[in-house]
């Protein structure tokens, strides 16, 4: 199924946009380990606690392990969180992720620096036996219907559907990368005690187990996945929407 990539790749990409729509960026590694779950938090915490001083269990940790195993959808969910001033680290029995603080994306340069530090600490912790997936996910939020601003629409016959509540999810492939794109014009974003209603553009790009070596080229592959996310976002944007984002090149 080698179909041409349907999103046009822009010749140049902005370095920065304002306002920044990024709610959250997630850099995820799925892995196999020989260590039992109960030892993983200690092994990781020992390496990161200088920078990530606070830690807390996530609600899923309350479910017994035997029950979690029976539900494939929970296989790669994190059970606990470590917090620093700018990032979160989430850990589960087979998943690790570095996440930006909600609505406070610090820019790729800061992310890359933190990722490099994080991967070094994970390598030192020594529990990742084999990495199975390397993923980059960006979630963008807009306080309007995003469909008219994108070169993407869904219709029945000649009638576009974006005037209704609409959500589409599609999977695209570009070389070794798989990308899952979700766009919805009826999403609710929790912002502390309030909630905003609008659109989300949620793009998750990943590599499979044979397409990266975590501790050899992991940073480079995260960079390539980030670039593809960026190309997709700006490739989907119509020119007037692009202009409204005040791009700086």
């Amino acid at each position: 199924m080698n179909k041409p990539f349907p999103i046009p790749i822009p010749e140049r990409l902005p370095r920065k946009i304002d306002p920044c729509p990024i709610v959250e960026a997630v850099f995820e590694i799925r892995f196999n380990t020989a260590e039992p779950w109960r030892t993983l938090p200690g092994l990781l915490s020992e390496k990161i606690r200088g920078r990530y001083r606070e830690q807390k269990d996530l609600p899923l940790a309350q479910i017994p392990e035997e029950v979690r195993r029976q539900i494939p959808a929970l296989t790669h969910q994190p059970l606990m969180q470590f917090l620093s001033t700018d990032f979160l680290i989430q850990l589960g029995p087979s998943v690790l992720s570095l996440i930006t603080k909600p609505n406070a994306y610090p820019g790729w340069s800061a992310v890359e620096t933190e990722l490099r530090w994080f991967l070094d600490r994970v390598q030192e912790a020594g529990f990742v036996q084999e990495a199975g997936r390397l993923g980059v996910r960006y979630i963008d939020f807009f306080e309007k219907d995003i469909f008219p601003s994108l070169i993407l629409d869904v219709g029945i016959g000649a009638s576009p559907l974006h005037a209704n509540e609409l959500q589409i999810t599609t999977v695209l492939r570009q070389g070794p990368f798989t990308a899952r794109l979700l766009v919805s014009n009826s999403a609710i974003l929790g912002t502390g005690s309030a909630a905003k209603r609008g659109s989300v553009l949620d793009l998750d790009v990943w590599l499979g187990p044979l397409d990266f070596e975590l501790f050899e080229n992991g940073i480079a592959k995260f960079g390539e996945a980030h670039l593809l996310v960026k190309q997709c976002f700006f490739g989907l944007a119509k020119p007037d929407f692009m202009a409204s984002l005040n791009p700086a090149y």
């Binding site: 380990t33 609600p59 969910q77 994190p78 509540e165 919805s184 609710i188 974003l189 929790g190 187990p209």
Partner: protein, 155 residues
């Protein structure tokens, strides 16, 4: 009765109520990209027994299975296995057997037309093979999977 799970994790956003699935079916879930196609190929080429075993190896065999030293299924071995099964034409009326090794590798076993055993073990680095009829054994990396396909095809 509802099969809706309690909220055990907090997503960055929620879809509007009209777009949200109110009842989550535990019997039906969205497949990972390529997963449905791959499962269909495994079912067609290896049969229901191997398909069921693979499902169990993926989801229920954790660190320490068996006598206590069994490792979970290697994601690289699984990916190599799928790439092989997708491309390889098994002999007609052949039902290969599928095993999970203690090291977390997948092993396929079947017989060629002369009744000689063929074994292929999918490891994180590549595939190891043994052909009883010609007493040949070897190793190929997944980049060179076509070599293994050529090696095994006449049997």
């Amino acid at each position: 009765m509802t099969t809706l799970l309690p909220r055990y994790f907090h997503p960055a956003y929620e879809l509007d109520e009209a777009l949200r699935e109110e009842v989550v079916s535990l019997a039906v879930r969205s497949a990972e990209p390529s997963e449905a196609d791959r499962e269909e190929i495994v079912l067609k080429k290896l049969g229901a027994r191997a398909w069921g075993r693979l499902h169990h190896f993926r989801y229920f065999y954790r660190q320490g299975w068996g006598e206590g030293a069994g490792k979970p299924l290697s994601p690289r071995a699984l990916e190599g296995f799928h790439r092989f099964v997708e491309q390889f034409g098994f002999p007609e009326a052949c039902t290969p057997s599928l095993f999970l090794t203690e090291a977390g590798h997948l092993e396929l076993y079947w017989e060629d037309i002369r009744g000689g055993a063929i074994q292929v073990e999918f490891t994180p680095a590549g595939a190891e093979f043994y052909l009883q009829s010609t007493e040949r054994e070897g190793f190929v990396s997944y980049v060179n999977l076509s070599e293994l396909l050529r090696e095994l095809q006449p049997h």
